[in-house]
Amino acid sequence: MAEIFKVHIPFLDDVKEKGLKDALVAKTDESVERLTAGMNIEAVRSMLRGDPVTRPNPRVKPHADGFWLHMRPTYFNKKVMPWYPTFRLGFLAVYFLVVETITGVILMFWYTPSTLVAYENMLNIMGNVPLGLMLRDLHKIGAEAMVAIVLLHMLRTYVTGSYKKPRQFTWHTGVWLLLFTLFLSFSGYLLPWDQLSLWAVTIGASMSEAAPPPVVGRIVDVLVRGGPGFGDIGLLRFYLGHVLLLPILLFIALGIHYYKVIIHGHSLPPGVEADGEDTARKVPMGVRDYFMPDVMTKELYWIALWTFIIIFAVTVGNLYHAPLEPHADPQITPLHTTAPWYFLWLQGMLKLGDKLIWGIIAPTVLLGFAFVLSYLEVGPSRRYIRRRLGMSFAALTVAVFAILSYMGTPYYAVSSSPDQEVMAVLAPQTHPGPLRGTPAEELVVGEYSTHAVASVPTAGLLELMELYEEELVKFGDDLPDSEGLMIIEDWQVGLKKITLRVLWNGGERAADLAVYLHADSNYED
């Protein structure tokens, strides 16, 4: 009977054989070896000490037998490790992707994609949830950084010719990754449901309406927006795209992209190999930088550095904060609404002409060209001198995009009447601006005119009136014989009413703008 209840614990056999202490040490050693997928305590310590490698080399076993390091190479070519040629942009892009995923999932705890509560959720995250502001700012700064970095990475890859044979498909998957990154950023833009979200995304989504033929365009537009304008349905669709569909596509494409990078090996700096040669796969013994521990150390250091930078920037450094404008209003489009910076080029293009040609056909052609660029073999050399045409093309592309982006800003070729423009400098509709940013004590009750700028009582008012005068002079041709008035009244306890009145033609014409400002509203921050 007793036999049935006998339990065999191998560890106890060890204890009997070696004694408790030795058995524990041996057990720990075995556990470490299992955890690292092949390196026991001795191997780990030897690695951390920087000892020369033994044969057989235990440091490659985590790569061969482990899951997490399986795709990562056991060693890199020393020539691709410094700043040049990669600027570590690929690594940085993945780093920011991880930051976005972590901060994004955490923020999901407090966000519901409904037009009734999305904006209030943002206020809640920023004002009622501890560290909510920090996480939101990290998420936004990570998004902007990621778009910038993948664009720079693309530029770098082009310039060093790393897209050439045999890495054409890697480039191709990279363009998909760029597309997914841009759409992730764009879809996330809508979620706060403030004025900037709604209108920037409305402009962007409207371009889908121009897709030919008209019936397809309209169907696509309605599918994307969930109705004639963005509302609950559209917000939910963008949310699902942002947290589910696009991340899944991105991770799949990233897997393929990175796998291809490893299979071919990181391309060496141009000029190191002969033209048309690709020896990156085989790294000679003398130029190996091993992952364990050297590259791993470098990567961890890089992660520590960038984490510090972004956290510093959004907290004590006060260098960056995600904006939150007033609640989305489907009835009012603010003057000077802009697209996010990475879409300004598209806005600029749209100002050139027809929505169909410049909003659909031209970007599609550009994108199509990017997808097949690596397959358009011009010459086998990656050296800069032998690729003068390619280098010029790159420089030209950068210049054209810069110019188009400038054209996409609201100040170029889109303006309202001059009196509105003047008032919009002082009290813009898309961000607080100088008037709201002036501390409440400096806005003394009274009536002030640009004809008597020097007689204002406070420094803050002086700055504002000088700016006012400057703007009126700028528009002097359209507003002859002008005067700018600023009337400040006490309206409620803590609340002031500021009326801007622009008079021109000697007082014959006038335009008014009323701004209400509360002492506590903290626009200076």
């Binding site: 209030e120 206020l123 501890p130 250091y301 520590a304 510090f308 510093f312 309206w491 506590d520």
Partner: protein
């Protein structure tokens, strides 16, 4: 290589310290942020009030007699009005429900014969729920004026120095300033019934079925066969409509709707200015 380990450690420790420092300051920062956005809500509310509520409730919320009650008044915040209407809950909830739902039926027993419009989109009005909240915050902010008795009692528009009286010819009207008259029609709330709403005859030509404005119609009505008042010309007709509105009613309108207070509350100059303005609306 070792330097990376050292700097890496320092960076991680620095990050830890920064995060801890931020976390410790969070309660204060959050309170500040909340106050900031509450203030911004009041600002938005003020702008909404200007475009939606001022024509009936007055520019400074002082109310317009015969049109709408005062919001900028101590009795709203010290509980008097709530007791009058029999509301036992919180003041803020009362304000919210009033803004959102309006008054579907004109309040009986009050001098406000015209109903308050419904504002919230939940009940078919034009404003979103967050905009209703902004208005509630703005109205509640009037309460600060009366907190701990710091503010003065704000009465509704004070009675004029001397009312013009009900006589149509005595005192004689001074020269009228149409611009001031136009402003008066807004301040006094006449526009609440006579321009966009249909409580009283429309003044503007394209709002009236005859296609003519009040300036033209005054002259026609005074000579109509069914005219029952004492005016002998258009100016006297308009004056009678203001100071003695129930003597003669335009077709389709009933007695007792237009406030009968203007004989006492408007001066001769006020009436002259208003008439001058009305005469410009042909």
């Amino acid at each position: 290589m070792t330097w990376r380990v050292v700097v890496g450690t320092l960076l991680v420790v620095a990050t830890m310290i920064i995060v801890a420092f931020t976390a410790i300051n969070e309660p204060a920062r959050m309170a500040d942020f909340d106050a900031g956005f509450e203030a911004r809500s009041i600002e938005v509310g003020a702008a909404l009030f200007e475009s939606n509520c001022m024509s009936c409730h007055g520019i400074t919320g002082q109310g317009i007699p015969g049109v709408a009650p005062a919001l900028n008044s101590a009795d709203l915040f010290n509980g008097t009005r709530l007791t009058e209407v029999g509301w036992t809950g919180a003041l803020e909830d009362y304000v919210r429900l009033t803004v959102a739902g309006g008054r579907p039926l004109a309040s009986t027993g009050t001098s406000y014969p015209q109903r308050m419009p419904t504002w919230s989109q939940e009940y078919g009005g034009p404003l979103r729920i967050d905009q209703v909240e902004n208005l509630v915050d703005f109205v509640m902010n009037y309460g600060l004026t009366y907190a701990a008795g710091t503010g003065a009692e704000t009465a509704a528009a004070a009675p004029a120095a001397e009312g013009i009286g009900a006589n149509l010819t005595d005192p004689a009207l001074p020269a009228g300033d149409a611009a001031r008259g136009e402003q008066l029609t807004m301040d006094l709330g006449c526009v609440g019934c006579h321009v966009t709403a249909t409580v009283g005859p429309a003044w503007l030509a394209d709002s009236h079925p005859s296609g003519t404005g009040i300036g033209t119609r005054a002259g026609e009505s005074v000579t109509a066969s069914d005219y029952a008042g004492e005016a002998t010309n258009a100016v006297e007709y308009l004056r009678e409509s203001i100071v003695n509105p129930n003597v003669y009613l335009s077709t389709g309108f009933t007695a007792g709707v237009m406030p009968a207070i203007y004989a006492d509350s408007l001066t001769a100059q006020d009436v002259a200015d208003i008439i001058a303005y009305l005469e410009t609306l042909k």
